[in-house]
């Protein structure tokens, strides 16, 4: 237990400078831009004098390092600043939109893990069978298909032509009572199954789009891991001693292959998050991804900074959790 804490602390210390570096880069980009953000906010009809007043109000006329330090200080207090566009605290905006992205990402992750790992195992077991070849085509495609195009094609087929799923958005009408912000969870908790079903139908296509590359990666890595483990001496021993094959595969081989897969899940998260930005754009999903893109398009630099801080922090936490999970999964690391 103590060792886990030590590990956590060590990783945290390592990532703080990384996060700081990220902030510096983004800060510099956001302040040193060809277009003048203040002028944009002030609007086209503003006079130069009005623009300067606004600049002074926002504190943008101070030297850069001073602005940065001030930003850090406010960040420490939990104040991410105010969106230049919506004039609302950025933290509020982010918090409001976070559950949508979480729901999408988690569902996509679940789909890819629950489908990907068994498929990867079967692909390795039945090497060069029809299933294996089909899966390998899928795997290669998964990493070659443009996410946004896949989403559009799915919309074309399932929404427009077949009418099985709605076109976009998260839910028609009113959301269920706001307990967690996750519609599926909230609907289930309040026994509102109609809304649950609607939310699920809305989630279907975006989650499928997002999950596809993740699924492909997982199948590929699990397959490679299982193939690798199948060469092990302990598998030979278990075969020589006549243990039933399903036992060897699903208990012993899978466990060994999974230890390397756990680290891949961290990677997976990166893929999912990157994909989320584009997927949300295609399906009009009201999450953080669309917030980031629209902030960028509107040159709302405060919001961009806020998003960057949030994204960086999430990555650090996820990496940390993956490291911890890896330690838990592999008892050799635990014991030493």
């Amino acid at each position: 237990m103590l060792r886990l804490l030590a590990l956590a602390l060590h990783r945290l210390l390592w990532f703080v400078p990384t996060l700081l570096g990220l902030l510096v880069v983004t800060f510099v980009i956001s302040r040193v831009v060809p277009s003048d953000p203040v002028a944009l906010v002030a609007g086209e009809t503003a006079t130069p004098a009005q623009v300067e007043t606004l600049r002074h109000q926002l504190g943008y006329d101070r030297p850069l390092p001073v602005q940065f330090v001030d930003y850090l200080a406010r960040l420490a207090r939990g104040d991410m600043g105010v969106s230049l566009f919506t004039r609302r605290p950025i933290l509020d905006d982010l918090a409001h939109r976070l559950p949508a992205t979480i729901e999408l990402t988690v569902v996509a992750m679940l789909v890819s893990v629950l489908a990907g790992i068994p498929l990867g195992v079967l692909s390795a077991l039945w090497r060069n069978s029809l299933l294996d070849h089909a899966l390998r085509v899928l795997t290669v495609s998964g990493l070659a298909i443009a996410g946004f195009w896949l989403g559009i094609m799915l919309q074309l087929l399932f929404s427009m032509r077949l009418g099985w799923t709605p076109l976009n958005g998260r839910l028609p009408g009113f959301p269920p009572s706001n307990l967690t912000g996750l519609y599926l969870v909230d609907a289930a908790l309040t026994w509102d199954w109609a809304t649950f079903g609607a939310a699920l139908r809305h989630l279907a296509l975006p989650a499928a789009t997002l999950a596809f590359p993740a699924l492909a990666t997982l199948v590929r890595f699990t397959r490679a891991g299982v193939l690798d483990v199948m060469q092990s001496n302990f598998v030979l021993y278990e075969r020589a001693m006549g243990l039933p094959r399903p036992l060897i595969v699903w208990k012993y081989i899978l466990r060994s292959a999974l230890t390397s897969t756990v680290t891949q899940i961290g990677l997976l998260f990166g893929i999912l998050l990157a994909g989320a930005v584009v997927t949300e754009a295609v399906f009009d999903w009201p999450g953080i991804g669309t917030y980031a893109v629209s902030s960028i398009v509107r040159s709302d630099y405060n919001a961009i900074m806020g998003f960057t801080v949030w994204a960086g922090a999430i990555f650090i936490v996820v990496n940390l959790l993956v490291d911890l999970a890896h330690t838990l999964v592999d008892p050799r690391e635990r014991a030493t």
């Binding site: 030979l236 020589a240 243990l243």
Partner: protein, 344 residues
Amino acid sequence: MAELLAVRELRVDFATDRGPAQVLDAINLDIAAGEVVGLVGESGCGKTTLARAIMGVLPEGAARIRGGEVRFRGTDLLKQDPAVVNERVRGQAITFIPQDPFTSFSPLFPVGTQIMDLMKWKSPRARDAGRPSSIFGRYPRERHKADREAVLEILRAVQIPEPAHALRRLPHEFSGGQRQRLMIAMALLPQPDLVIADEPTTALDVTIQAQILRLLRALVKERGVSVLFTTHDLGTAHELCDRVVVMYAGQEMEAAPTDAFFGRPAHPYTRRLLASVPGPDGVIRDIPGEVPSLVTPPAGCRFHPRCDHATAECGVERPAPRMLAEGHVVRCHHPVDAPAGAGE
């Protein structure tokens, strides 16, 4: 003497980049009940392949059995339904002690879990009472208890300290010698007829090797179990085996009771091999020439290119097995000091 195991004319090929390698060429081998047989030979002579062929765990896809029989208690295992062989023979009538005990355990599960998984399907009580039909099948409480008792008892017999605690530990927490003792225990728990031990002490320190081997011999003799024991170390073969068989390049050359093998070797290769063991005078007497390629092996007796006694017929036809004395069989056209008139 009824044979427990009789291998006849076994041929095994391995697929390589340069074509099929004829790793085993019409091998014959006999093991009687309760007998400890040593299979000696240089690296690459095919001993491990033969062991794996008997167990039926040759690498799928890379190895192919071209012909021959593996008769165990009268039935040819190669012609049996593989599922039946897997259920009743492997891990039950024939068990295995691997070369490297460290990598032969799954590193992620406690030793006890792995042993009890073996017992669930292979213990004598499972054989009698009928095993679970699927991997989710139940492990009846009484059987589990009885099996666990048997496990603890044999762990004491192989001198593992504190057996009950040991079961909860992971493989890497044991020493090399202890791991091999665990392997010996696992090989004996199903009460097999035959144990196949593939170079069981190669991965261990020299100081421990003798200890482990003596333990193994004591235990199998106690239980009347046969052992096929492959090794490249003549010394251990001499100490532990009732009979010794020597192989070269995929062919068996000579088989004899230990005294006869070391005292009156008949095959030129055997004599050279025994002579090459460093003696007190420190002179190195190695065998000139090189081990042949198995992709394009020499015809006839594969040792003939390096043999002093070879004649033309040695390169044409492989010698048939010739019995020189009780239990002493040699495959050579010109065995050394062959008693006159002996033949089969």
